[in-house]
């Protein structure tokens, strides 16, 4: 108990130092023995994944393709599942090089992503990361509603695409089965967009004649306006050429407007209770149907409760998905006919589905509109505008007028070149058909993915199928379509009549303010 204080203290000092020294020694030894070694990069979390080889190069080595296109989450037509993206860069490749959209504006972007909704990136994406915005459920919901009359139209090109989704060879014509499938799905009325394709020819042809004769003070060449991707492209990059665009709506929008007016009136259906669906080979159509101009029925009927002319656009792939989901055995379906009134189309209408088709159809009817005579058989096979070249030219001799020069373009990069040429004052044509997608609608962004990237071989097969339908058609001229005659007699009076203008024609808006224009062609890549 009575230990000497001094003794205790000496013990204290010594053991204190011992303690401190010991602790440090332990620490130092452990440090040296490896536990406290600096971390090396391989110890860091992550870094064990994979990247496409093009990116695994020393920094600032040039790579052929980098990254991917931007897709706005609000894009009405196209969505991307990031989880599936492998950054292969195919989308940016097609967007920039084939469609000349990406990279053709200056940075910074202003508000929106420049996108024409053509959906070619969907066709090029090898992993299926990009796809159409799925609107299938909206349609299923409408079909389930007994109070709603669901009217559907099918574009010219879906009939030669849909079969591929069910294992049929590329280009198989499944027109009849498609109608049967739609009926089975519960669509009340099945119409054919070929009908309005014919109508488009009447309207657009008349407009062309009026432009040529000077009755209409709009510039020549007249450019087709049935491709919404192309239209948006002009609105973005060539607003000064908007007057060259035909004011005629696309067949889809014509059909939509007529479904809620002409059909509603004829069949005494409440237009407010019509749900109008269109099956399209195209994603840009999803954008088109949402354009504010595209609710002519509502305007015409002066009733704001009438929904837009086309309520929902489904791509061919989405229709296939519906059929599969419902469990319909597509290949064993019988061949059925479209409903009458707006379900008859001609061979001219069906070839709208491929590049050059609109031109061919237009030439046939223009001949008739100008001369009052049926076109010669030679015009039923206008080979110069057929095929997969990006830019095709032809001269058609129409008695009394002489040679009319026309041009057919598909793929927007091709269109850009021609537009630049036009801006430079070098446009010898009277009429130009332009489709955003290479090859036209038959390989649109909404068609079944036959190969990736899309090949001309498949394009040709699909085109051949369309030409085959045309060749076999009883009626091959738009102006011969009996339902066209009927609608003009009963409803529209004449092409470009006041009512036709109201329902079948539209206007365009410049989108040049959405981005900063390219300063020069040279420094194209950022």
């Amino acid at each position: 108990m009575a230990s000497k204080v001094g003794k205790v203290i000496s013990l204290s000092r010594r053991s204190f130092l011992k303690f401190v020294g010991g602790a440090s020694l332990v620490g130092v030894t452990l440090n040296l023995s490896g536990c406290g070694e600096p971390i090396t990069p391989d110890k860091a979390i992550g870094g064990n994944g994979w990247m496409p080889t093009q990116y695994n190069a020393p920094g600032n080595w040039p790579t052929s393709v980098r990254g991917r296109v931007p897709i706005d989450p609000e894009n009405p037509a196209i969505v991307r599942d990031d989880q599936k993206c492998i950054l292969c860069g195919q989308c940016i490749e097609v967007c920039e090089k084939i469609q000349s959209v990406f990279g053709n504006y200056e940075l910074p972007i202003k508000k929106e992503f420049v996108c024409v909704n053509c959906g070619q990136c969907i066709q090029w994406c090898p992993s299926g990361a990009i796809s159409e915005r799925d609107d299938v459920n909206k349609v299923f919901k409408a079909l389930a509603d007994p109070n709603v009359t669901v009217v559907v139209q099918t574009a010219p090109a879906t009939r030669i695409g849909l079969g591929e989704e069910f294992g049929m060879p590329v280009g198989t014509n499944v027109q009849g089965k498609q109608v049967a499938a739609l009926r089975k799905l519960g669509f009340d009325v099945v119409f054919d967009t070929n009908f309005t394709a014919d109508l488009t020819i009447m309207e657009e042809g008349t407009e062309l004649v009026k432009r040529v004769t000077g009755e209409l003070h709009h510039p020549i060449p007249q450019m087709t306006s049935c491709c919404p991707g192309w239209v948006k492209f002009v609105e973005y990059f060539y607003p000064e050429l908007i007057p060259n665009l035909s004011s005629a709506k696309s067949p889809q929008q014509m059909e939509g407007a007529l479904i809620k007016t002409y059909f509603a009136e004829k069949k005494e259906v409440d237009p407010k209770k019509i749900f109008s669906v269109s099956i399209m080979p195209c994603t840009a159509k999803k954008f088109e149907c949402q354009r504010p101009e595209m609710n002519s029925a509502s305007k015409e009927l002066n009733d704001s409760n009438v929904s837009p002319d086309v309520d929902v656009v489904l791509t061919t792939r989405e229709l296939a998905r519906m059929i599969k989901r419902t469990g319909i055995d597509f290949s064993s379906l019988p061949e059925e006919e479209y409903d009458k009134l707006m379900g008859t189309g001609t061979g001219a209408g069906v070839i709208f589905g491929t590049t050059g088709g609109v031109m061919e159809a237009a030439v046939r009817s223009a001949y008739y509109l100008i001369t009052g005579q049926q076109p010669p058989v030679a015009l039923w096979n206008l080979t110069p505008v057929r095929g997969m070249q990006g830019v095709k030219e032809a001269a058609v001799n129409i008695p009394g007028v002489g040679d009319i020069k026309v041009a057919v373009i598909s793929g927007l990069a091709n269109a850009r070149k021609v537009m630049d040429q036009m801006k430079a004052g070098n446009a010898p044509w009277a009429f130009m058909e332009i489709m955003a997608c290479p090859g036209g609608c038959e390989y649109g962004g909404g068609q079944p993915r036959a190969s990736s990237p899309p090949s001309d071989e498949d394009r040709n097969r699909r085109a051949a199928s369309l030409y085959n339908i045309d060749a076999k058609a009883k009626l091959r001229n738009s102006h011969d379509n009996p339902e066209i005659k009927q609608i003009y007699a009963d409803f529209l009076t004449a092409p470009m009549s006041e009512k036709a203008e109201e329902l079948l024609h539209t206007h365009y808006v410049s989108r040049a303010d959405d981005f900063i224009p390219k300063k020069s062609e040279e420094n194209k890549l950022y």
Partner: protein, 258 residues
Amino acid sequence: MAKGVLVDIPKCIGCESCSVACKLWNELEWDEQEKNKTAIDRAKEPNNGLWPEEWTSINRYDPEKDGESVARYVKAQCMHCEDPACVSSCFSKAFQKLPEGPVIYDQSLCVGCRYCMMACPFDVLRYEWKKAIPGVRKCQMCATRVANNQETACTSVCPTGAIIFGDRDQLLAEAKKRIKENGYVDRVFGEKEAGGTSWLYISDTPFEQMRFRTDVTTKPLPSYTEGYMKATPFVGVGWAAILAGLYVFNNKGKEPLD
């Protein structure tokens, strides 16, 4: 040579290739909820788009430019400070600044105190709250790639050159050049912030409007505690000596207490 990344905000088109690259390279898991968020959503959420499995995020802001509201996409990730607070705050040395630039983290050393998260001046550290054995998560600046003389995954895929990888010094010079040429805001965010960072940002719109911590100190964060930590052993020994002295003095001739 210390590497860095220059982010030229006006050049970003919001394609999010970079965040996908980050996912691919670091094998980060996909989360349904995060996947469905847009750049606008992420810019507004408290986490700034950064989550344990989202080491980088493209966030959209609508700052003003010439009186007009414009869209700007800003890439967020760890800034890779030159003298990082996370490194200095970690008491088990789970963080480290590599000479090449990356600030890396080794989970096997981590105790999980989360002091680093409190200390990080840019609030980029995220914790795996949902895991029973959680770790801290953040961009590692692709340390193994950088060590192999490759560029970071995100910069390698950027289609517009909005993010470029290189020597920090050169990037800084480039940044200043671009500021002059393009009439950007006269500030390289990251040049001096928190004592300088490996990632540098330049922009044509005010940084304040894009969720940058513009009022952050320009002193390296560790310098705030450096002196204290250096003094501690001496203070400790000195204090113990004083106590010992007092003890001896006060106990002299007294019966020790038990």
